[in-house]
């Protein structure tokens, strides 16, 4: 078990984890503010991945360029989805929300199957195949670039929530629904806006994920689960928590793969989830409500 192997693994895990973190960020925003149990989160990301692949194969559009229109499109779609379909469900019991989104997820996965077929698709960028060498370390260029974009997107989101008026208003809604309404904040519009932002995160994450993974219609459910695990481990309502959770999960899975049987490495994420749920249910960086 050489140190090089472990070091390379940890770095790779951390980079991938940042992209996962961005995806989870979207969920944290959606779940944390709008309180919707988005069980179609992974499927939304799969759509983003397919959109990237389609743009790449049809227009030769580099994913780093495509990320902007895709984020915009997802923002719009998220806004409309929330305002149109999901809004009436906010007050419904959780299992109702869950069923709504499961039904949506089924439709999405199979529509993708109809449109793109079951084969794995990717956007293979040849300039990303060569790794960066830093002594004994080999750093995957694609992972590094994707992680960088994820960080930029997250920073933009943080800035929005911290420094803009709308962002503050949204945080107010999350903290105290009634109080926000009393103060005159247009809650419905803000909810839709928030969902849109969460969706945009997913869009960017999906666009970058294509550089790391090949997309098939069946990817959705696994990512949904992963997003929830990260959000809970990191802490609901904490944006840095989502990123941190992502990195933590990425690194722990990678290490588990190195130290133990690789085929069982997913068990660690679930074990971590159970432990967090039991001993620190607000997550590592979450606030106790």
């Amino acid at each position: 078990m050489s140190l090089d192997l472990v070091a390379n693994t940890v770095i790779g895990g951390a980079l991938t984890g940042l992209v996962y973190g961005l995806m989870a960020l979207g969920l944290s925003v959606i779940f944390g503010v709008v309180r919707v149990v988005n069980f179609a989160h992974g499927e939304m990301m799969t759509i983003a991945m397919y959109a990237t692949v389609a743009l790449f194969s049809a227009l030769d559009l580099d994913p780093f360029v495509a990320v902007v229109p895709i984020a915009a499109a997802f923002f719009a779609a998220g806004y409309l989805l929330q305002a149109g379909l999901i809004n009436p469900f906010i007050t419904r019991p959780e299992h109702s929300q869950f069923m709504l989104l499961v039904a949506l997820a089924i439709i999405i996965v199979n529509a993708l199957l109809m449109a793109f077929g079951p084969d794995a698709r990717t956007a293979q960028l040849d300039y990303l195949l060569d790794p960066i060498e830093l002594g004994p370390l080999l750093i995957d260029r694609g992972k590094l670039a994707a992680a960088a974009v994820a960080c930029v997107a997250s920073a933009a989101l943080f800035a929005f929530f911290r420094y803009t008026l709308t962002g503050t208003a949204i945080r107010a809604c999350a903290d105290n629904y009634l109080g926000a309404a009393v103060v005159g904040i247009r809650i419905r519009h803000l909810y839709a806006l928030t969902f849109g932002l969460g969706a945009a995160c997913v869009g960017v994450a999906g666009c970058m994920m294509v550089l790391l993974v090949d997309v098939t219609p069946a990817l959705g459910p696994a990512y949904t689960l992963l997003a929830f695990v990260i959000v809970i481990v990191g802490g609901l309502g904490s944006l840095t928590g989502a990123l941190l959770g992502g990195v933590l999960i990425g690194v722990s899975e990678a290490l588990a793969g190195v130290l133990f049987v690789p085929s069982a490495k997913s068990m660690f994420s679930f074990a971590l989830l159970v432990l967090v749920l039991l001993f620190r249910p607000q997550g590592l960086l979450g606030r106790r409500t």
């Binding site: 293979q124 790391l212 993974v213 190195v258 690789p262 085929s263």
Partner: protein, 416 residues
């Protein structure tokens, strides 16, 4: 309790009625009166055309679709296909099989996956309808003492044995003596069966010059195989012995390039993935030189040429070579059914099953000895070929009698 707006009640009533109607229609759909048509054989084709194994099922379907035409010309027999989608789900496989039999299928073929094939086998045996397995490697399917289940495909043990033997031939043909191999395998039903087979056969085969220095099993659902490849690279082996599926094969190959790991070769002792079209389409020139030792069609056989022509007619933008295994074995399964029908001159299931048991087909498409079932309903002597990716298509390089060109090993760019 939310109050329902008045205009919704009409929708609910309509909805329920429509639902009841659809349900009744489905339940009472024509029971498929079995007409005594001794002139036409109805073949039920059960394949996973949607769900996780969808692309393989669709590949197999291409072999089924061209069968009626080719068989009519060859044997003068009329075949009617009844296609059903198992949706990669064992519940659906079972009910679809029942449905096909009810609708008058005389013979069933399918279903690629061992779990679904087992479920269908039970239905077929229960109802006394012959079932010919086109592709499924779990040995248990023909170990249950069934009288109506037949398989024209290798069991996992045969695949491993043939695969390892071909590896020995490969080294001989290229005058190489690799000493160390690292074995990576996907941790699913097929991968595990292959791993067990390798564990059992390797000690017995004394003409293999290499030892397996490390075994790495990985999750079939894993989307990131960085760690696994790092571990494999760290084993410092001469070549990679790989049992995988298509998606993970693509991921692994790309990851090998990214981690600058250039072994002597990537050799599969018998698994899908590296010879499939998507592998070439996605990886481009990175797919070159990968080797798969799998049951394959004989490129020099007469029947192959006939099937290829029919394939191109129906799929002008496609090539048979990308569907060689899937389409080939599916076609042969239907061929067996038709041949039995011709001899039996009846569509009675029991008579057909007896006729299938007497099958002896020498003019076939897939490599190996004649199609002849042993007392367990298994064909013995199905051959494997060493198929190497050359010029962006799978090319038979061994055995020499069926080879299209010579094998390349080690692959260029190999760093000792």
């Amino acid at each position: 309790m939310s109050s329902q707006p008045r205009n919704l009640s009409l929708n609910r009533r309509k909805f329920n009625r429509a639902l009841a109607g659809a349900g009744a229609a489905a339940a009472l759909a024509p029971f498929g009166i079995v007409r005594a048509q001794a002139t036409r054989l109805k073949v039920g084709v059960l394949l996973p055309r949607s769900g996780f194994q969808g692309f393989i099922g669709q590949s197999c379907q291409k072999g089924a679709d061209l069968a009626p035409e080719v068989i009519k010309a060859m044997l003068g027999v009329d075949i009617e296909l009844m296609n059903a989608d198992t949706e990669t789900n064992v519940d659906v496989a079972r009910t679809r099989a029942e449905r096909l039999i009810q609708d008058g299928a005389h013979v069933l073929i399918g279903a690629f996956d061992s779990g679904q094939s087992s479920a269908i086998a039970q239905v077929a045996e229960q109802r006394g309808v012959p079932y010919i397995v086109n592709i499924a490697a779990a040995p248990q399917i023909t170990e249950q003492g069934y009288k109506f289940v037949f398989r024209n495909f290798q069991t996992a043990a045969d695949i491993v044995r043939n695969g390892l033997a071909l590896i020995a031939d490969l080294f001989q043909a290229t005058n190489t003596v690799p000493r160390k191999a690292v074995f990576m395998h996907v941790n699913d039903t097929f991968g595990q069966a292959m791993a067990k087979g390798i564990g059992a056969f390797m000690p017995r085969l004394t003409n293999l010059p290499f030892k397996i220095v490390d075994t790495i099993s990985y999750d079939p659902a894993a989307k990131d195989l960085t760690v696994e490849v790092s571990k494999a690279k760290a084993a410092n082996a001469d070549f990679l012995l790989l049992v995988s599926r298509l998606n993970d094969a693509i991921l692994l190959r790309r990851e090998m390039v990214k981690q600058r790991w250039q072994p002597m070769g990537v050799v599969s002792p018998g698994s899908p993935g590296m010879y499939e079209e998507q592998f070439f389409k996605t990886l481009g020139k990175l797919s070159e030189y990968c080797i798969s030792n799998v049951p394959w069609y004989n490129p020099k056989a007469e029947l192959t040429a006939v099937v290829e022509k029919a394939f191109l007619k129906r799929n002008p933008k496609d090539k048979l070579v990308y569907h060689g295994l899937n389409a080939g074995f599916t076609f042969e399964a239907i061929l067996i059914a038709a041949d039995a029908f011709k001899r039996a001159r009846s569509t009675d299931p029991k008579t057909l099953a007896d006729a299938i048991r007497q099958t002896h087909i020498t003019s076939k498409m897939m490599l190996g000895g004649p199609i002849k079932f042993n007392e367990k309903g298994q064909v013995e002597g199905i051959g494997s070929a060493c198929v190497q990716n050359l010029n962006l298509k799978p090319t038979v390089v061994l055995p020499a009698s069926a080879a299209e060109t010579k094998p390349v090993f080690p692959m260029p760019g190999y760093k000792a």
